[in-house]
Symmetry: D2
């Protein structure tokens, strides 16, 4: 947060007579655009889905909580939007926790392993101790085999050639069907479900109810919509964001895109070099680069991740590094 003056947009509340609100009966906020898709599955991957089961709150509920007030009030829509943007910009996160949403999802277990790492959520997962495992595993078509990225150890880049893809897909199909066959056979022989499942592939689909507040959902989306997130979970995140949150809380979604997803952060080191550059002090910029170990004593760029990150940001500003 900058040390800038925060003249509060929340001000009107505290000086209004609403500080001691007249109590009246309420209705639960409804969001028509979300009601329309309630229960309808969005298809994800080859056999997954996301659908909204229930929700609590709306853009308006966030404003209401920020005002620790209750009523529909007389504020105009653009003031509500302004307050939401202010809250998002200044990381006042608690009002966003006042909205809650419940999803029914169907996800490959491999992907679910990443999903479940988000601890601030409520979960009921389909149990393969109680029940026979869902008879579906994520399949990979011939065109979808991704090549290991060379620079990024946890990413992928481009696709395998057709011939190789064909082989890979055939073998996958064989392995998946063999694994299922062995699973079914174990069940038929009376083996306990909890043990029979042990060699199912990670690609097997699971289902869950997943309930989360909007603040934690946005954190999930921030991480999982990112270009570095694995393709599979990114697909779920994109649909949640673009098809669901954007309909549910449009002002929040807009602020989230403007102030989180599409913002750019400059570190102390980067700010110092950038300032030298905007001052036209190329020499200082280079001296700083050397002191940060970004450049050799001769002023040549060294293999350095942080320098490369900075150059990317400069490019975003249409600037070139001074070295």
């Amino acid at each position: 947060m900058s040390a800038e003056n925060q003249e509060s947009i929340i001000k009107e509340y505290t000086e209004s007579p609403e500080a001691n609100p007249v109590m009246e009966s309420l209705e639960r906020p409804k969001v028509a655009a979300l009601d329309e898709i309630l229960g309808k599955p969005f298809k994800v991957l080859d056999d997954g889905f996301i659908r909204v089961i229930d929700y609590m709150g709306s853009d308006e509920s966030i404003v209401q909580a920020a005002r620790v007030s209750y009523g529909k009030g007389t504020k105009k829509v653009h003031e509500d939007r302004g307050l939401i943007r202010y809250l998002m910009r200044h990381h006042h996160t608690t009002p966003f926790e006042m909205c809650e949403i419940k999803f029914h999802v169907r996800v490959p277990m491999d992907c679910w392993r990443q999903w479940i790492r988000h601890r601030m959520a409520n979960v009921n997962e389909y149990s393969t101790r109680y029940s026979v495992a869902i008879d579906s595993a994520q399949t990979t078509s011939e065109q979808e085999w991704r090549i290991q990225a060379s620079g990024n150890r946890q990413g992928s880049a481009g696709f395998a050639a057709d011939a190789e893809g064909k082989t890979l897909t055939e073998k996958e199909r064989y392995l998946q069907s063999l694994a299922r066959e062995i699973y079914d056979e174990r069940l038929k022989m009376g083996i306990a479900r909890e043990q029979a499942r042990k060699d199912l592939p990670l690609s097997t689909y699971t289902e869950a109810y997943w309930k989360v507040d909007l603040h934690n959902l946005l954190h999930f989306l921030y991480l999982r919509m990112d270009a570095h997130a694995q393709y599979e979970i990114r697909r779920y995140a994109e649909i949640m964001g673009q098809e669901i949150v954007a309909k549910w809380c449009p002002a929040v979604w807009e602020a989230f895109m403007d102030y989180r997803v599409n913002s750019n952060s400059f570190t102390r080191l980067e700010m110092e070099v950038l300032t030298a550059m905007t001052q036209g002090d190329k020499e200082k910029a280079i001296a700083l680069g050397k002191s940060f170990n970004w450049l050799s004593d001769a002023g040549e760029p060294k293999k350095n991740r942080e320098r490369a990150e900075f150059e990317d940001k400069l490019e975003g500003l249409g600037l070139k590094a001074p070295w």
Copy 2:
């Protein structure tokens, strides 16, 4: 959990065609009895209140989550009730997290200090940095001054005599009005609200939006409805439980009373003595009491908290200790 056989009531789900539910559009569950009181304040203490702002889910949603299914299904009401009771009895807590409720409360800060210790909730509190403090403090009438319990260091027992109560109430009134006067004066002299508030009494009322899932709410109620909880927070808990949760999720409320609030737990030590008693083996019961250090070598009851607790439980069973 006893080592007893848990033939699952959840069974019908997994063998039904619902395992792969046909997707259809949904409506959010509504609870008419709760809708009726939405937004209406229940008065608590002299100037506090609780009111429901919004909620998500119902008894039915818990069943739905337990079945990791969705539909209203064809289950009869008594089967839903049976499943809820089963889940409560066996501490299967995650389905209860699928319901969420949002309250607007007005509480003395002293009481709020206890409340806020429950971490698994979302909170937006009235800010006395932004706004002038609420002009109300919890007052104590002449009859309400509680005497320190002698046995229980954190409790109270009985009330002060009328004459003393009168004096105490008068002094309280004076102190509270002086504190407010000084607060107002500070504000008038331009002192920052964040500092001016520093000597307000702990009895000053605050307001907050408090949002919590049903599992964590029940945990709150279990601790705060207890006879050992402080009177003030107990009043809030009782109203939340009896006036709100009982209307919102009646089957859950009933199970909670039967299996949590009104259950009795016997420790290993207590079970051993009780078993000796039900076997009519008084000698063994006494020998056990000695080995637990509950009794002197001569078999006389020693000052021992655990022994006293056990005797209370025996009394509940209409039994007398064998010593």
Copy 3:
């Protein structure tokens, strides 16, 4: 919690001069019995392990926190033990959060799926996006194939016959080695690790650092040492409890066994019948059984889970149901 009088064992603190403790330098508490095994792996299953990496606190730290004091004090060991037992018996859980432990574990992913559902912990898991998957999957020997329990839908009971076990084990071996072969082949063909792993069996081992406070660890152990927990995770829990926690905080472990693991809870319904029984009022006991729907109008036991649970508890007391 019973409505019994809680004369506080904590009392001595508040009346002692320690209420304003003289500050002095401290040393971190050390537990010699735990230091001895620090870093040493306990083998679990065929190729898993648990080892302690680091810890904070001891029995003494719990006492210290309960006294919100600091010093080693002059309290005798039996008083510390008494206070710990009191805290455990009365569900005063926050002092137990003051101890923390960090494990390094190696666990089949299938088992890890259950483990990770415990949200109040810190986790760093081995990443199969960054690194090649650990080349080990949990194998099942011919004698270890468990039969599905008939009564308990999520459990197992007994083992498969030798001949069947042999077949099952052979097929498992084939499936696991095929899955690994295909995984290795994918990597050789340049497929991204994040995708190549998708069809590894759930039995594949993963590793993680898992850090948790003692209160949440005991909750984990309570659920996962239970006879209803799956065999695999139960093995980890038993070793954590018996080999590690018992050494780390012996007074806590003893209290946990006496007041949690080996305690017995009677519901309101059960207390009513039990009371009728201890009063010798068989008729009332039967009338209650009917009203609870445990018995038919003729007084015959109905198929009812709750009644069966009660009868098990009676058996523990050496009693027979009156019907």
Copy 4:
């Protein structure tokens, strides 16, 4: 996170033989600079303090967790520092959760109200139900009365004049001593401690054990060291950061200052204007300003918080707004 290429510094781990570490016994990491101050109170405000009671982990433990390895390894110190900086820069937060610290703090209740809002921590607070309240309240000297900021509704700016300060301090002293006198009197008359405390001033000191992991501690410090945080809690945060964390995990502290505290974030809107500026396209910059509602149609700056924030950031870069 930028879409930049993340060639992982973690790489060496996965290709080293350490992937299957040879198990050996361990010692708990020790940080000499922290051991020296263990238990020693840092004075805060007039009568508060912070002291470290215990800790788990060090810079090295973070590296260890990030490598999901264990050993002291053979990595040179500058590589460890590089990895820590990488983790901090890229918001890989889980390894920072592997360090834990326990404080004993003495804080005015008014300040504690803000502190306790950080939910991801373990707390044992001094109980004024069990014990007589600490006989100390935060006093304000004549020079310390802060004036309400006009721009920032929740802040203060400058100090009251001497004469006013004198009056305010005298009245504070009177109010605090009267409140204590009435409290003591209530206790003498036998009133329960839980009720007698109700009119103590918010400035009364409380004490607590507060235990937190390093990730959550940094989040606390980020918010509470900020210039917008209230002076009182800021003092605690500054001492925790500068006197304690800087000694405990020096590489983390340095990275935190460089990449969090002293970083600057530019929103999508700001990036667009800044890019127009660095391109020398003043006209576009102004057109953007109009479209964001920062400028009037005539191109005049409007009263707009977001524009003002942007201009502050420009100033940090030594730039002037183009309007």
